[in-house]
Symmetry: C2
Subunit: 227 residues, 2 copies
């Protein structure tokens, strides 16, 4: 639908393509890059939302915390994804770099100014918000009604779609991250993955356990009752 940011250098020069903004059409828009070390906070919940971010390299988690430390990750942001877009003045999540991560920043204010005059950009802002809403709606169904195996299967299908290259899926996030995304504990996630391995549905490759090959995609899909 819109141009996706890829690792192709030709595309990296036209940034925030999903919003229909490029350096060419709006040369005055500052598009600074910034790099965060693994585990560092990009912005906190309830902080003023002065910037919108786009992942150029790495991965980001957005989450909410309860006062006793329980955590719910609302989304993972991978290369190309835009995050931190709020309509109000405050961020509604805390965002942290999962691994070393480079992001591109755009001032929220200048984005609003562009949207003011450019109906296309305005529509893309709505479109982006709608995509986030759709993801959240599907995730509510997962969190409210799916079993642990269904949740993990759904997670793998989502990640397979978003970051698999050459058949192998290199997960940037830990079991704890996955658990907090799926509303489970890390042990339950681990057991579900082991079970999928026993069933010859997935395979682990490499030295750590974060690189996964989907061996039988149809079985994986059948485990997640889409609807």
């Amino acid at each position: 639908m819109f141009i996706r940011i890829t690792t192709d250098p030709a595309y990296r020069s036209t940034s925030l393509g999903e919003l229909g903004i490029s350096s060419d059409s709006n040369p005055k828009v500052s598009l600074n890059e910034f790099t965060y070390k693994k585990g560092t906070e990009i912005f906190g919940e309830k902080e003023p939302a002065d910037y919108v971010y786009q992942v150029m390299a790495g991965a980001v988690r957005s989450y909410k915390l309860l006062s006793d430390g329980r955590r719910q990750i609302g989304a993972f942001h991978l290369v190309g994804d835009i995050f931190g877009l709020e309509n109000g003045s405050e961020h509604r999540f805390t965002a942290e770099a999962i691994v070393g991560t480079t992001v591109r920043l755009i001032k929220r204010r200048s984005l609003d100014m562009i949207a003011e005059s450019d109906a296309m950009v305005s529509r893309n802002l709505l479109s982006l918000t709608t995509e986030n809403l759709q993801h959240a709606e599907n995730h509510m169904l997962l969190l409210g009604r799916k079993t642990s195996l269904e949740r993990v299967a759904a997670f793998l299908i989502e990640m397979d779609r978003r970051l698999t290259a050459a058949g192998v899926m290199p997960l940037p996030m830990s079991r704890r991250d996955i658990a907090d995304y799926l509303g489970l504990t890390l042990e339950t996630v681990s057991r579900a993955l082991s079970r999928l391995h026993e069933l010859y549905i997935i395979e682990f490759v490499g030295s750590n356990q974060r690189q996964i090959v989907v061996r039988n995609r149809r079985q994986l899909v059948s485990l997640d009752l889409q609807n």
Copy 2:
């Protein structure tokens, strides 16, 4: 921020106030009303989204189903609320009247046309979508990480805010609806409510068990770990 539809007849004539649309400013926009009997479907998931709806009287539930019948209610729509607003062409939820319900319809197409020329309406569309997103984000935290008592407390606080008049909260929905909204079973909801009653935090009034008085709001809030 924007004019809310109320039961005041003076306001009912200017409809869809939240979108900044009134019959005066757009006399050609058709604003038909329609009434649905208790339990009937207003629209189904994946049906074409030709209309946007506003509740004039009654209450509506929006939900998704899994193939084996598990249900997740994403939101309750009460008097004044707008629902069925999709950015794409299909509805992402099924909507049903919880009780006898009157809605006002507006053609999605004409709404788009108005938004095209009226930046204010366009902003309000984004604003409305953002509100829905915010609700979904908070609900993910509830579904993923809160205990049954915290969920029921959060539900009562939400409903208290949205439909309490003269101290009494007349819930239109059944225990099963509440359960499917909170990701619980109806028995667990019932037990939580009984517990809140034992603790002198809520009181039941009237012949059925759907009219609730919040006796100790501060205790109720403290049970729900906001964040």
